[in-house]
């Protein structure tokens, strides 16, 4: 069981940071010795949240994305916040296939977070911004070589 550890980070809402942030968070989570599946789930969910900040929260500007992560026991908690346009109706936004963007967005971001992580909460206020909190329980493996 790993010690409690945490980090916080601020990045620009540039699309090049989608891969940067998911790789940072999966590296951070590595101390919990996740499976390849678990890492892939975490990366995918994180990618959805960061993409939403870039595409929806700050549609025409470069804003800041605020990230906090911690590991405690074998649970990874990720908190991603923006100070962008906010979501008027969170419940509706979270419905699968709902999107306010064009044809190239699938409207599946929240559905992926929900299904790939173990816990999801979304807080938002129009013109104030959006906070997404996700948790993932990492399975404990008994590896005799270690």
């Amino acid at each position: 069981m790993a010690d409690k550890n945490c980090f916080s980070m601020i990045v620009d809402s540039r699309s090049v940071n989608e891969s940067f942030v998911r790789s940072v968070i999966s590296t951070f989570a590595a101390v919990l010795d996740p499976t390849v599946e678990e890492i892939s789930d975490i990366k995918t969910a994180v990618s959805e949240v960061v993409t939403n900040c870039i595409v929806h929260a700050y549609p025409d500007t470069i804003g800041k994305i605020y990230i906090k992560c911690n590991t405690e026991g074998n649970v990874l908690t990720v908190r991603i916040r923006d100070k962008g346009v906010g979501i008027p109706d969170v419940k509706k936004a979270m419905e699968p296939l709902y999107t306010t963007a064009g044809d190239e967005r699938a409207g599946l971001g929240f559905a992926v977070m929900q299904s790939f992580m173990d816990y999801l909460r979304v807080y938002s206020k129009p013109e104030k911004g959006t906070t997404v909190i996700m948790k993932k329980h990492i399975s404990v493996r008994y590896d005799l070589r270690r």
Binding site: E18, S19, T51, V55, E104, L108, V112
Partner: protein, 111 residues
């Protein structure tokens, strides 16, 4: 991220390599649509065998190509989907409208 496009008769095969996210999807979309525009295929196969990561932007990419091809009366197939990508495809329900051809389909992620 890269795409390798090959043409055989009326069939375009687009072999995707690397990570698909919103950042990389833009370039992929342009290259594939460009080739559709020029070659007027009756079938496009998107091959995901060498894709190492994909978020829902990949579904957007597939849906967008599907709509583009449907308008032209052409078809879209998906191939080389590993279990991790399949998890995403399954969540999106895309296999109900596009043929997803995968040896591993449904085997590991049905639970």
């Amino acid at each position: 991220m890269a795409v390798e496009i090959s043409l055989s008769g009326e069939v375009i095969t687009a072999r995707l390599t690397g990570e698909i996210d919103h950042h990389t999807a833009v370039g992929l979309r342009k290259e594939i649509d460009n080739s559709i525009e020029i070659n007027m295929p009756s079938l496009v196969i998107l091959d995901f065998e060498r894709v190492s990561f994909m978020d829902s932007s990949g579904i957007g990419l597939i849906m967008g190509r599907y709509k583009n091809l449907s308008k032209r009366g052409a078809n879209l197939n998906i191939s080389g989907v590993n279990p991790r990508l399949y998890k995403m495809m399954r969540l999106s329900g895309i296999e109900r409208i596009v043929k997803v051809d995968s040896p591993l389909k449904g085997e590991k992620f049905d639970g």
